[in-house]
């Protein structure tokens, strides 16, 4: 101990507090490790492989005589799994069987097309999460968005360009309204948004069903509960030409991702959103109106989900939509948001990944007969594993991180200077 080690002149002992366990867990779940994410995906795919193998006819057959010809079983398992997953890859990224690059890359564009509504809705759900709200109302918000925007798209006569924008705005507004209703209920009555969003999903579904059967969404002269087709002047234009399905919606969601990034990270409104999401009590005492933030957040959240809905009507399913237009995207968006850790670019990446699963799952079903429900299973498992890093670590025998990510607390000798 040299003479230079003078006791500090400050009287306060520096006793850095042990961070609360809440804080550690929070850090774990929201930031986590990249390796955990990758391993979670791997693990989920493994489980998926097991499911594929187990339910495959050849596998079941050869399991019957496993002991006489074990090679058959192994071969059957390998065939079923590799067949399924290569179909998945070829359906989502690159199709090697096609002659040219332009043809072969088509699956990737399909991935982006499927990813577009997932990203939009995922951004909406993620925004909700950041404010502390669970927006499970994806289906309802998409349906109402499709209803309002779709009506503008097929019922009005407007010049090209303007028509598209009008329909787009109407759709986003529709979703915003349906989401804002939830925010209002929560702000005014304290009703828990998990229940209200789910209930409004069903209300929207039946409302749209009625409108398709007997209301302003009905196609005149047809008994089919499908709306009239979107007018040409309102359709999203293709960005890679007529051979590909990828349309303007993809550009829109890139813009939406940038917008959400700015909103949450740089804007004053986003600051208030995050404050409310982390600690509504402190936010309230600091003069932030928690009620108003809930309403605004649900408006934005619903609007983003609505973007997904109108995207389907103006881009992907332009020949008229039915009550199934949301096709499960509302619930998928939850897993996208969770995988993306509620961060805008994470959601973008997660949306691309799940878009790939979706695109690939159709070719899995077509080529190998694997039902597309498996995608739901794999997605949910990924989310569960992400949320439980200790579980993933235990399975892969990874070492647990030592002290949480900060420098160890020095055991200061706490000599204090007399006054």
């Amino acid at each position: 101990m040299s003479a230079a080690q003078q006791p500090t002149t400050t009287p306060a002992p520096t006793e850095p507090a042990e961070p609360s366990r809440w804080h550690n867990i929070f850090r774990e779940i929201t930031t986590g490790n990249a390796i955990i994410s990758v391993l979670a995906v791997v693990l989920a795919l493994l489980v998926g492989a097991v499911m594929i193998a187990f339910t495959n006819d050849d596998v079941q057959e050869s399991a019957g005589y496993f002991f006489s010809r074990p090679g058959d079983l192994i071969g059957a398992v390998w065939n079923s799994v590799s067949g399924a997953y290569s179909a998945l890859f070829q359906g989502s990224v690159y199709n090697f069987r096609r002659p040219s690059f332009a043809d072969g890359i088509k699956p990737l564009t399909e991935t982006f097309t499927y990813a577009t509504p997932l990203i939009a809705a995922g951004l909406g759900v993620a925004l909700g999460f950041r404010v502390g709200l669970f927006n499970i109302g994806g289906r309802g918000q998409m349906l109402i968005a499709a209803t309002l925007g779709g009506w503008v798209a097929f019922a009005l006569e407007l010049p090209a360009g303007i028509h598209m924008i009008a329909a787009l705005v109407a759709g986003v507004l529709g979703g915003a309204l349906w989401g804002g209703l939830v925010g209002l209920l929560k702000a005014r009555t304290g009703a828990h948004e998990v229940i209200t969003t789910i209930m409004l999903n069903y209300v929207a579904f039946y409302l749209v069903s009625f409108l398709l059967r007997d209301g302003f969404l009905k196609t005149p002269g047809s008994n089919n509960p499908k709306s009239p087709a979107t007018k040409e002047t309102a359709v999203f234009f293709d960005i890679l030409g007529p051979n590909y399905n990828l349309h303007f919606g993809f550009i829109l969601v890139i813009a939406a991702t940038v917008f959400v990034w700015w909103l949450l990270g740089r804007s004053s409104l986003g600051f208030k959103f995050r404050a409310v999401g982390e600690n509504p009590n402190a936010a309230r005492v600091a003069g932030i109106s928690v009620q108003r933030m809930y309403v605004y957040a649900m408006l934005f959240s619903g609007g983003l989900v609505g973007l997904a809905g109108i995207n389907q009507v103006l881009g992907t399913t332009t020949s008229g939509f039915g009550s199934g237009i949301d096709s499960g995207i509302g619930f998928d968006a939850i897993t996208v948001a969770l995988l993306g850790r509620s961060k805008p670019w994470g959601v973008f990446a997660a949306g691309i990944l799940f878009g790939a699963f979706k695109a690939g799952s159709f070719s899995m079903q077509a080529a190998e007969g694997v039902p597309i429900d498996i995608v739901l299973v794999v997605q949910s498992l990924i989310v569960l594993f992400i949320a439980a890093p200790p579980l993933v670590r235990a399975i892969f025998r990874l070492p647990a991180p030592g002290a949480p990510r900060r420098k160890p607390v020095p055991n200061v000798t706490q000599e204090v200077v007399a006054k």
């Binding site: 400050t10 009287p11 306060a12 002992p13 520096t14 006793e15 850095p16 507090a17 042990e18 961070p19 609360s20 809440w22 804080h23 929070f26 740089r266 804007s267 004053s268 409104l269 600051f271 208030k272 995050r274 404050a275 982390e278 600690n279 009590n281 402190a282 936010a283 309230r284 005492v285 600091a286 003069g287 932030i288 109106s289 002290a403 900060r406 420098k407 160890p408 607390v409 020095p410 055991n411 706490q414 204090v416 200077v417 007399a418 006054k419």
Partner: protein, 505 residues
Amino acid sequence: MKLELRGITKRFGALVANDDINLTIEEGEIHALLGENGAGKSTLMNVLYGLYRAEEGQILLDDVPQHFTGPGDAMAAGIGMVHQHFMLIPVFTVAENVMLGHEQTKVGGRLDLPAARKRVREISDRFGFNVDPDALVENLPVGVQQRVEIIKALSRDAKVLVFDEPTAVLTPQETDELMNIMRQLKAAGTSIVFITHKLREVREVADRITVIRLGKVVGTASPTASNEELATLMVGRAVDLTVDKAPATPGAPALVVTNLTVIDPLGQILVNDVSFDVKAGEILAIAGVQGNGQTELTEALMGLQPRVVGEITLDGTSLRGHSVRQVLDAGVGFVPEDRTRDGLVGAFTIAENLMLDRSNKLPFVKRFNVQLSYLADFARAKVKEFDVRSQGIETPVGRLSGGNQQKVVLARELSRDLRLFVAAQPTRGLDVGSIEFVHERIVATRDAGTPVIVISTELDEVAALADRIMVMYSGRIVGIVPGDTPRSVLGLMMAGETPAEGAAA
């Protein structure tokens, strides 16, 4: 039963909360464990009670080493704990709370409530507690709740009772009663460990005193030691128990509160027709035991209470019925009593917390954008000015110590032009060094001409800081008296007796 803690060491990561502690409680003695906030007393008792497992050391009862895997073992061995924050279920009755964990049951697991009631009455009568076994705990006053805690421990035949900071929520009268109860228990053969940081109580009732500082035992003392001697042992240096403060030069009344009444959602009156004023350049301390309406009065001033009747005027402008935002914008600075719940967002950085209540306009927000570089400069300056110990302005505030967190709150509030400064329990849970810092800042704010309100349940703090003292009891003002009013008078006022009556006693 003799209780001995030998060589107890407990670590949390790299932090050593208890460092080789030796403590012996003889049978039938009242042993005080004295130390300031953060010294490690509660950790030690949690080790004793089986809630924590010590890395090293032993617990011996009558010289027999014990191995507690949980509170159940400790209780079975005869150790009972009366916790600082009551471990009672508010929506259960007294009898249900007392029986929890060792319920008597009839056929099929059916609760034997009559037997439980009988037991409660037995113990209650023995010590004169006057507790109704069927009362709902949440409806009982705090002093009675504490008695329920004691009954709970005694109902398991505790031979050693540990009281963890029992007087924090009691009036001086109730504290005296508690002292009597402790003497009664001692007479009945129970050993008592009395954890506290209040010197006066310790000297009144303890047989022996052990002083802990920063996880280590620094000495034992007898109750005949003076306050100053004990304080020095506790803190490790000569402690000046008073605050250096020049006499106040109050100006015109700045805050005027007239006939203020606050009502809760069920219609109960929490603040009852309160009128007072605070002048520029003075500190008005609102004293009283926790739960007598001070919290609600403070919230009403800040716009946090919805049902408020009466008038609140600051420099001529009315504040009643205004939103929190409007009150803050009118120039009121607020340090809330629960800093982690109401004062700071733990996951936000120091910088973000420094603009928490100014997120709506310049200088931190321009045209919807947060001015990040301005914020960073501001934060760096404040961290330096208020000596906030951390690893940088991007450190999440939840990682800081209590004292540093409070400094962030102070830095935030005192960095703007204030027309009124309200500080609620500003030094709760802080170490002595931080307490001194906070007190200095409060006095400096007063000296700059700002009216200051300090709400505190600690009489020491009130006496040290106040120019005038307003005592509240049961939602009403008992009286507004000068800052040098003797403690005995203040104590009586905190129990509801107005000064004139007290003087006659």
